[in-house]
């Protein structure tokens, strides 16, 4: 099957739309920008679906496995004689699945924004940023080598920065966008170093060749990278762990998650697209992309497992105490991504043992549906309640029936209640954990109970709890806002029935899709208990919840303060780095480099004002430092370093 004719259009169309809207959107196109953005994305989505259909059903398996195709490839730069940097498009089960997810969710968000962002002054700019993001994300998932993925990785970060800071007149939005950019950039530093190590050791940046060389036990590259060690750990473990650090930053894994809750300052549809369904799963995608290499290196896979499990649990606990509905959803996103991560971590290679890989990708797929649905519903709710706080809501089911029903479906899905999408994917993940590592399984199980609790706490607080009258109520929202909710709601209810494991598995052979019904009893029971507790606490207005949190006292408070993680960061940066590094630097700057005019006047009091500026003595001190530098170098190189 020849894909090269159209596959490049999938990312390039949004790029064209970005350029067009970026140049003319604000002044000339205005309202038309939204229509252009949606149309372009509709074409991209159709092409993605067509490509997926071709890949899975027309092309199908070759020799029993789904092949890795390179649809487009050209050598961009021959950096070393043995190392070329290519630009290309890779097609394999996960990248094909991802382009469908990204373009579809992006299309929904584009349509939703037609109504949500209506009347916004920078409507055109908003759509151009959305297009830029979609382009970068599609480029990221289609990248055929690790250098290319890094470029798009950063581009995704920039578009996220632009979109979080979209309301640039709000100081909190500006601060949040900067925080997100700097924190993820800090993590990317690990990624960059990981790339450099992998690139140099494997003598290639191309994913296929890289995986092939580093999984073949006979290859000289693998022998070299596995036998060289740095600080007692093999270079391969270092490289993979560093790459994972990059992924953890983007995917908001503990302890690099601090930017995600703040990122909710962006417009809500943006949160749905970037901070729920697509960008934040980039880290999971990256690990999955390099999974064959991770698989042969147990140590780095352990890191993935535990970071994922801790994030899943911790975020779920924090989510229980948050009162801002977007923040609850943000922490729940972090928790669900933690699921995907540890699921990759507990996965083996072929057959039943590879279920973790399948489950992780399946959960990524279903999560995109229900989480973007939750965010879009939250957008509608915030639109009506004019607040993000749960206490300002309640009884909204009468006013917004469609939002109510779709939100309920999504809650049931994320809680893992059959037959909604989340049930199937979560079941696979828990089953994989059960088989491989029972401690992880218990963490996952408890987390899934907590998840059900906080999601239904949210649901009851918004739609039931107290009865409320809305006086200036203008309807639930425009048709363009309701349509995506309905489509995603139907999707959330049905996508679980896709026999996902037939298509995606670690060894590419596909697994028979089967349900372990007896196994599911325990997780579903946990979910139902969680829902029931939420029901008893939040269905009617009562002080039971308050009493409970009073009883738990300190524990509740520390959870509410997100375990003081932000404060720890602040302490480290403000107190330690600022005092130990910043202060001395400031001192040197003030006393040596700047050297106050007054001090100079005092020492050279007799000389006239004019000369004071010139003959400040500073030039001499400059010379002294210059000379000092030479002396130090001489001491080092003639005596110490010999």
């Amino acid at each position: 099957m020849n894909y090269s004719s159209y596959i490049a259009l999938i990312p390039l169309l949004p790029l064209a739309s970005f350029i067009l809207l970026g140049l003319f959107g604000r002044k000339y196109l205005k309202e038309l920008s939204g229509i252009i953005g949606c149309t372009v994305l509709l074409i991209s989505t159709v092409l993605s679906l067509y490509a997926a259909y071709n890949y899975f059903f027309i092309g199908g398996k070759v020799n029993g496995v789904y092949p890795t195709l390179t649809a487009v490839k050209y050598t961009w730069l021959q950096f070393l004689p043995s190392l070329a940097i290519d630009m290309g498009i890779i097609l394999d089960p996960i990248s094909v699945m991802m382009i469908v997810v990204v373009s579809f969710v992006s299309l929904m968000v584009h349509i939703y924004s037609l109504g949500y962002m209506k009347g916004e002054e920078r409507f055109g700019t908003y759509y151009s940023f959305l297009s830029l993001f979609t382009f970068s994300m599609l480029g990221l998932v289609l990248a055929s080598n690790i250098f290319q993925i890094y470029i798009f990785w950063e581009l995704v970060g920039i578009s996220s920065y632009l979109l979080i800071g979209f309301y640039y007149d709000r100081p909190s939005a500006v601060a949040a966008s900067k925080k997100a950019f700097v924190v993820t950039r800090f993590a990317d530093l690990g990624f960059l170093i990981g790339i450099l190590i992998l690139g140099f050791q494997a003598q290639t940046l191309d994913f296929n060749t890289l995986i092939q060389r580093l999984t073949d036990t006979q290859s000289p590259q693998l022998l070299a990278i596995a036998s060289t060690s740095f600080l007692g750990v093999s270079l391969l473990t270092w490289a993979l762990t560093l790459v994972f650090v990059g992924g953890a930053g983007k995917s908001a894994m503990f302890p690099l998650h601090i930017w995600l809750p703040d990122a909710m300052e962006g417009p809500t549809p943006v949160s749905a697209l970037i901070h729920a369904a697509t960008m934040v799963v980039a880290g999971v995608y990256l690990v999955a992309r390099l999974f064959p290499v991770f698989h042969i290196n147990g140590a780095s896979l352990h890191v993935v497992t535990w970071v994922g499990a801790i994030s899943a649990f911790l975020a779920a606990v924090i989510a229980c105490t948050q009162t801002d509905i977007k923040r609850v959803l943000a922490y729940s996103t972090m928790s669900q991504i933690g699921y995907m991560m540890f699921s990759l971590g507990v996965s083996g290679w072929g057959g039943e043992t590879g279920l973790g890989y399948t489950g992780s990708m399946f959960h990524l797929f279903t999560h995109a549906f229900f989480k973007s649905l939750l965010f879009l519903c939250a957008g509608a709710v915030i639109h009506i309640a004019r607040s993000n706080e749960m206490k300002d809501m309640g009884g909204l089911r009468r006013f917004m029936p469609i939002t109510h029903i779709t939100f309920l479906i999504a809650c049931l899905a994320i809680a893992g209640v059959p037959p909604f999408a989340g049930f199937f994917s979560k079941e696979e993940i828990l089953f994989a954990a059960w088989q491989n590592n029972q401690v992880i399984y218990v963490i996952g199980l408890v987390t899934s109970g907590i998840t059900a609790f906080y999601m239904f706490r949210l649901y009851f607080s918004i739609f039931w709890n107290k009865e409320k009258e809305l006086y200036d109520f203008h309807g639930e929202g425009t048709f363009s806002m309701k349509l995506p909710l309905i489509i995603l709601g139907i999707g959330t209810a049905l996508v679980g029935f896709i026999p996902f494991s037939n298509f995606i598995s670690a060894d590419r052979k596909g697994l028979p899709s089967e349900l372990h019904l007896t196994f599911s009893i325990v997780p579903v029971t946990f979910a139902i208990i969680g829902i029931f507790i939420a029901y008893s606490l939040y269905f009617k207005q009562s002080d039971r919840a308050q009493k409970l949190s009073d009883t738990l006292g300190g524990l509740y408070r520390s959870t509410y303060r997100k375990f003081y993680i932000d404060e720890i960061y602040l302490f480290v940066t403000r107190k330690i780095i600022f005092n130990l590094v910043g202060r001395p630097a400031a001192w040197i700057d003030r006393n040596i480099v700047d050297g106050t005019m007054n001090g100079i006047a005092w020492t050279t009091g007799k000389i006239s004002v004019l000369i004071k500026g010139v003959q400040s003595g500073r030039v001499q001190s400059y010379a002294l430092y210059f000379f000092g530098g030479i002396v130090v170098l001489v001491l080092i190189f003639l005596y110490l370093w010999k």
Binding site: W76, K178, G199, V619, Y622, F627
Partner: protein
């Protein structure tokens, strides 16, 4: 003989001819309007730049004192290009200045010195070029004739450079004493790792370090940059540094090969210190010129990382990065130059709310700063990535980690400016700037360069092919 001389010294002769034309114009005593003069000079500079791309000469002159080849010509073209851009950008400043021809005579003299320095094949020739490129610069620093801080800058410049030249000359004499030659080829054969030669190597590195403002030889930079006119500051931080870095690449990679291990360690230490100190100070700066001065110190530290690679990839990524550095830094300086010439405002607070009044200029500055911070897909990212990649080839990962950490720190302060321009409110913002079309063209070229040089791999490939 004569034709060969004319042909091989084409680039230098072009500059000399322009200098003479300007001298005659000045002596002709007919007062020419500053605007016409500037247009005329810029046309000459465009011709000069264009001429550099044709009939590229290769060969030696004056008993191997002077040599030229395709790579050197390319480097000279970069410098010609930088000078042209700076000249275009300073239109708004110079049109009110009485001494336009003198400014260009001094400027082009320093450029001539840099050309000789690049083409030198002998330490003496190199030293002459270095001095020719330094002393007129001090006069240029003083070109805001009525500003005391400008004179102060000039004074500090001349004092510091005299000091560094003295030590450099001491190093050269020691080298001559121990090897008996100043010729690059013979020097390579004579060098070994003895203490005297290491000592003279340190003095030479200090001399180089002074010119590229590497820590701890950088202290003059901030004051001189702040006091000088913006055009001179950008010339100092881009063209002058670029020239010296070109020389460093060719000298260290071709002449000092027998002592490669020693200079590797020295450059390693200096590179780490330069990146860290440059970044820490850049964090706190409020004056935009001073801010760019310190950030360019940090950039130099980064360039030195690529230099430690000691491979063809190392030298080509350094030269490639200098091209990108010219684009990015001159883009930033262009905006500051225009704003400073028209409104006189130079502090970061003045730039708050800049986007409201001057969206286009804000974007130029933002793109340049993003490129300096190394954000893909702008050219700066590719430049830095190649420097790191080349450096990683040597296997010294601690240096790479430090460099990458510094990239994050630098992102923080570049974002500070961008945040101020786009997001902060200001009751008294910089008014709408109406600059001449020439600075606008120059900025357009810089932005174009930033957008294209990275993504199109041609530039790097060409440089790499010259070094093979």
């Amino acid at each position: 003989m004569l034709t060969e001389f004319l042909y091989l010294m084409k680039a230098e002769l072009m500059i000399t001819i322009i200098i003479f034309i300007l001298l005659f114009l000045k002596l002709g005593s007919k007062e020419m309007k500053a605007e016409n003069m500037l247009n005329f000079i810029n046309v000459l500079l465009v011709i000069n730049l264009a001429a550099g791309f044709f009939n590229i000469p290769t060969g030696n002159l004056f008993g191997d004192m002077f040599r030229t080849n395709e790579l050197f010509t390319l480097e000279k073209n970069f410098l010609n290009f930088g000078t042209l851009i700076i000249s275009l950008q300073s239109y708004d400043w110079l049109k009110n200045h009485k001494h336009v021809p003198e400014f260009y005579i001094l400027l082009l003299s320093t450029l001539l010195g840099m050309f000789f320095m690049i083409s030198s094949s002998n330490l003496l020739m190199f030293y002459l070029g270095l001095e020719l490129s330094t002393i007129p610069l001090a006069a240029l620093c003083n070109f805001d004739l009525h500003q005391r801080r400008s004179s102060e800058a000039a004074f500090k410049m001349i004092m510091s450079s005299a000091f560094s030249s003295g030590l450099l000359l001491f190093g050269i004499s020691l080298l001559y004493g121990s090897t008996g030659t100043l010729d690059f080829h013979e020097l390579t054969l004579q060098l070994n790792d003895n203490s005297l030669q290491i000592f003279s190597l340190i003095l030479l590195i200090a001399g180089f370090g002074f010119k590229i403002s590497a820590v701890p030889f950088h202290l003059w930079t901030a004051d001189v940059y702040e006091g000088s006119p913006v055009a001179v500051t950008s010339y100092l931080s881009v063209v002058s540094k670029g020239a010296i870095l070109f020389v460093i690449v060719s000298v260290f990679y071709n002449v000092f090969t027998p002592v490669a291990n020693s200079w590797y360690n020295m450059i390693f230490l200096i590179s780490v210190a330069t990146m860290i100190i440059g970044n820490l100070f850049a964090l706190r700066q409020q004056n935009m010129k001073r801010f760019l001065a310190f950030s360019s110190i940090a950039q130099v530290g980064f360039i030195l990382v690529g230099l430690t690679a000691q491979s063809t990839e190392g030298s080509s990524s350094v030269i490639y990065f200098i091209l990108i550095y010219i684009f990015s830094n001159l883009g930033a300086f262009g905006v500051i130059s225009v704003v400073s010439a028209i409104t006189g405002k130079e502090t970061m607070d003045d730039y708050r709310g800049f986007y409201k009044t001057n969206p286009l200029l804000t974007w130029v500055l933002a793109i340049s700063l993003f490129s300096l911070a190394g954000i893909p897909p702008l050219a700066g990212f590719f430049g830095k990535f190649f420097l790191l990649f080349a450096g990683a080839g040597k296997g010294n990962y601690s240096l790479i980690v430090i460099a990458a950490l510094n990239m994050v720190v630098s992102l923080y302060y570049y974002l500070k400016v961008i945040k101020a321009m786009f997001m902060d409110a200001n009751e008294n913002p910089i008014e709408k700037i109406h600059s001449h079309w020439q600075p606008k063209i120059a900025m357009g070229i810089c932005v174009g360069g930033i957008l294209i040089t990275g993504i199109a791999s041609g530039a790097y490939n060409y440089i790499h092919s010259l070094l093979k």
